[in-house]
């Protein structure tokens, strides 16, 4: 099929999925809605991670730091600033996460390979320890809740009850869909995205072609941090609770696995990975308390036998489908 008709087909599929998911909020039971909300939020987090890994070629082990910074900042603003509107608190979360990304990124990005990974891990742990020890502010691993206002007012549109799962789900769906769309356009269709992908493939040549590689990688790092911060903010608003679970090595490892299982070569791979880990995780949890162990073993098996993740498997099976093929990892 021609390029144009393939674009229309893909746009059509995306819209259909969105509409189905939106409509689903009316039909699906509460438990499923809660799960789906988590899938969307963690999918956004994993997508932000893929901005670093799949597009930037940088393996970070401390990405949860920004998820956590966004989460805590948003929660604290909602808690301490009376009458603040949730979007403003979310923006605060994004801002703090981006700032963290700038400061930490500045130190980490100038190194590459194993050093980069180690530094990100170290800083991730630093953030976790800070959150854990600073009990007066964060309540440590006990966490705190009940900070989201009962009503979320959208000027000109109306308001929703934040306690209503279906309404919250729809809001999260819309926000995630919009952010994913913008990010997708940015990474796949702009000169910026092209530059990042080129640098990943051949940093030396890009540099000799005039690209300031350090600056580009730093911008990418901050971008990934900002989106992670948004995901963190969304999480605490939808759960109305925050604790050290949002930060630390477990969370960082989880997002690595999710992204990888879904597949780093496709923009929507991480979203797929999130769906898999959350849904299958929930299912496994009913069978065994050691579902994380199963997930870990599955991850190892995939690294060994299916390195392109699920999206790689899907692409292998539907070789001639309208799925975009031109961005291998």
């Amino acid at each position: 099929m021609t390029r144009r008709s393939s674009h229309i087909l893909r746009a059509g599929i995306a819209i259909a999925i969105f509409v189905a998911m939106y409509a689903g909020s009316v039909v699906l039971p509460k438990a499923q809605l809660f799960t789906l909300t988590d899938v969307l939020i963690l999918g956004l987090f994993a997508t932000s991670y893929n901005i670093l890994l799949g597009y930037g070629g940088q393996l970070s082990f401390g990405h949860s730091a920004y998820f956590g910074l966004g989460a805590y900042s948003c929660a604290l603003m909602l808690l301490h600033v009376p009458g603040i509107a949730p979007p403003l608190a979310m923006l605060g979360g994004v801002g703090v996460a981006a700032l963290g990304g700038l400061v930490i990124g500045f130190i980490c990005v100038r190194r590459s390979g194993a050093y980069f990974s180690m530094l990100t891990l170290a800083f991730g742990m630093l953030c976790y320890t800070a959150a854990w020890k600073w009990r007066t502010v964060t309540q440590g691993d006990d966490g705190f809740g009940a900070f989201v206002p009962a009503e979320w007012v959208f000027p000109l549109i109306g308001s929703i009850k934040t306690g209503d799962l279906a309404q919250m789900y729809r809001v999260v769906l819309v926000i995630v869909a919009v952010v994913l769309l913008v990010t997708w356009l940015l990474m796949n269709h702009t000169p910026y995205g092209n530059a990042i992908r080129s640098i990943r493939q051949n940093e030396e040549r890009a540099s000799f072609l005039g690209y300031d590689v350090f600056f580009a990688k730093l911008v990418n790092y901050v971008l990934a941090s900002a989106v992670a911060g948004l995901a963190g903010s969304l999480l605490v608003i939808s759960h109305n609770f925050v604790s050290t679970d949002v930060i630390g090595i477990d969370r960082s490892t989880e997002v690595v696995m999710m992204t990888y299982i879904g597949g780093t070569g496709w923009f929507f791979g991480p979203l797929l990975g999130s769906a898999f880990v959350v849904v299958v995780g929930d299912l496994l949890a009913t069978v065994t308390t050691r579902w994380q162990l199963v997930m870990g073993v599955l991850f190892i098996l995939m690294v060994m036998y299916a390195p392109k993740g699920f999206s790689g498997v899907v692409r292998y099976l539907f070789d001639r489908s309208a799925l975009e093929r031109r961005r291998p990892l």
């Binding site: 070629g57 393996l59 082990f61 130190i107 100038r110 190194r111 390979g113 194993a114 050093y115 990974s117 180690m118 530094l119 891990l121 170290a122 800083f123 742990m125 630093l126 320890t129 020890k133 090595i249 490892t253 690595v256 696995m257 990888y260 050691r290 994380q292 162990l293 870990g296 073993v297 991850f299 190892i300 690294v303 060994m304 390195p307």
Partner: protein, 290 residues
């Protein structure tokens, strides 16, 4: 506590922890030098060493048996991991190897939590090493002196093997240029497995000797991993002297930090790292390319 004692205490504590870190860092450096991969599961071998030692002490009643056997068991596990898993992923590049070791560390942690639970398990030092000894300014725990001594003994043995034996020469040559060594007829695959097992052995030893001081719990891998990585970043991944210097610096920074400013002790390691990186962005001894 009088100041003189605090200083000596801090110095000895720092040296003990620093040497422990160096024991770990040397294994990591060897593996990185040879395989070009940063083994995230290295701290997991450390943890397994401690847990297996706990089991062995429970079974045999003696710490010395654990000290001897646990590292060997960990080394065997390491060899298995390398042969079965890492070997397969080697061709896919550094990123995939790193991810595999991440997976292994995750699974190892979950297995440990499953089998031994999440509570902290105590491992008592042998009677010979219990108690304190009088050192001019005060009394100091004998076990910590043992840690220093044990680490030094292991490291000296390692140095002797690496630099004075033929086997060591093969290992060092493989670390430098594995293709050449293969061309000379040596089975480089076995060298890979051997070095990886050696790294696991060193980590296991570190785990066993650390256990009585730090106790045995699932988070011990993550706790020491951060310090380990800071040491390696500061000292440079290819450089053993760098790792030694960085380990001792970090050990002293932390132990003096805990003594004088306990609330912020954790931050000292990071502060040290940031300061070093500001003046020497490539670490104290520069960076070795993989």
């Amino acid at each position: 506590m009088p100041l003189a004692f605090m200083i000596v205490f801090g110095f000895l504590n720092g040296t003990a922890y620093g040497l422990l870190l160096f024991l770990l860092a040397s294994g990591l450096t060897l593996v990185f030098g040879l395989l070009g991969v940063l083994n995230l599961a290295h701290a997991s071998f450390y943890m397994l060493g401690a847990y297996i030692a706990f089991e062995l002490v429970r079974l045999t009643g003696t710490f010395w048996a654990a000290l001897l056997l646990a590292p060997l068991i960990v080394a065997a596990i390491g060899a298995l991991v390398e042969r079965v898993m890492l070997r397969r992923v080697h061709v896919l590049g550094h990123g995939h190897q790193l991810l595999l070791t991440l997976g292994v560390s995750y699974v190892a942690l979950e297995l440990a939590k499953w089998y031994w639970g999440t509570a902290s398990l105590p491992l008592r030092p042998p009677d010979l090493l219990k108690g304190s000894i009088d050192i001019v300014v005060g009394s100091y725990p004998i076990y910590r002196l043992f840690i220093c001594a044990a680490a030094l003994v292991v490291l000296v043995c390692l140095a002797v093997i690496l630099f004075k034996t033929r086997l060591g020469m093969i290992v060092r040559a493989s670390v430098s240029d594995s293709e050449m060594v293969s061309a000379l007829g040596y089975n480089v695959g076995n060298v890979f497995t051997g070095v990886f097992a050696l790294g696991a052995l060193l980590a296991g030893v570190a785990g066993v000797i650390a256990a009585p001081m730090l106790s045995v719990y699932p988070g011990m891998a993550a706790d020491i991993l951060v310090d380990l990585f800071i040491v390696v970043v500061i000292g440079g991944l290819g450089s053993l002297p760098g790792a030694l210097l960085a380990s001792l610096m970090l050990g002293w920074a932390q132990s003096f930090g805990i003594l004088f400013v306990p609330e912020f002790a954790m931050l000292f390691s990071f502060a040290l790292m940031v300061v070093v990186l500001m003046f020497r962005p490539l670490g104290l001894f520069g960076e070795r390319s993989a």
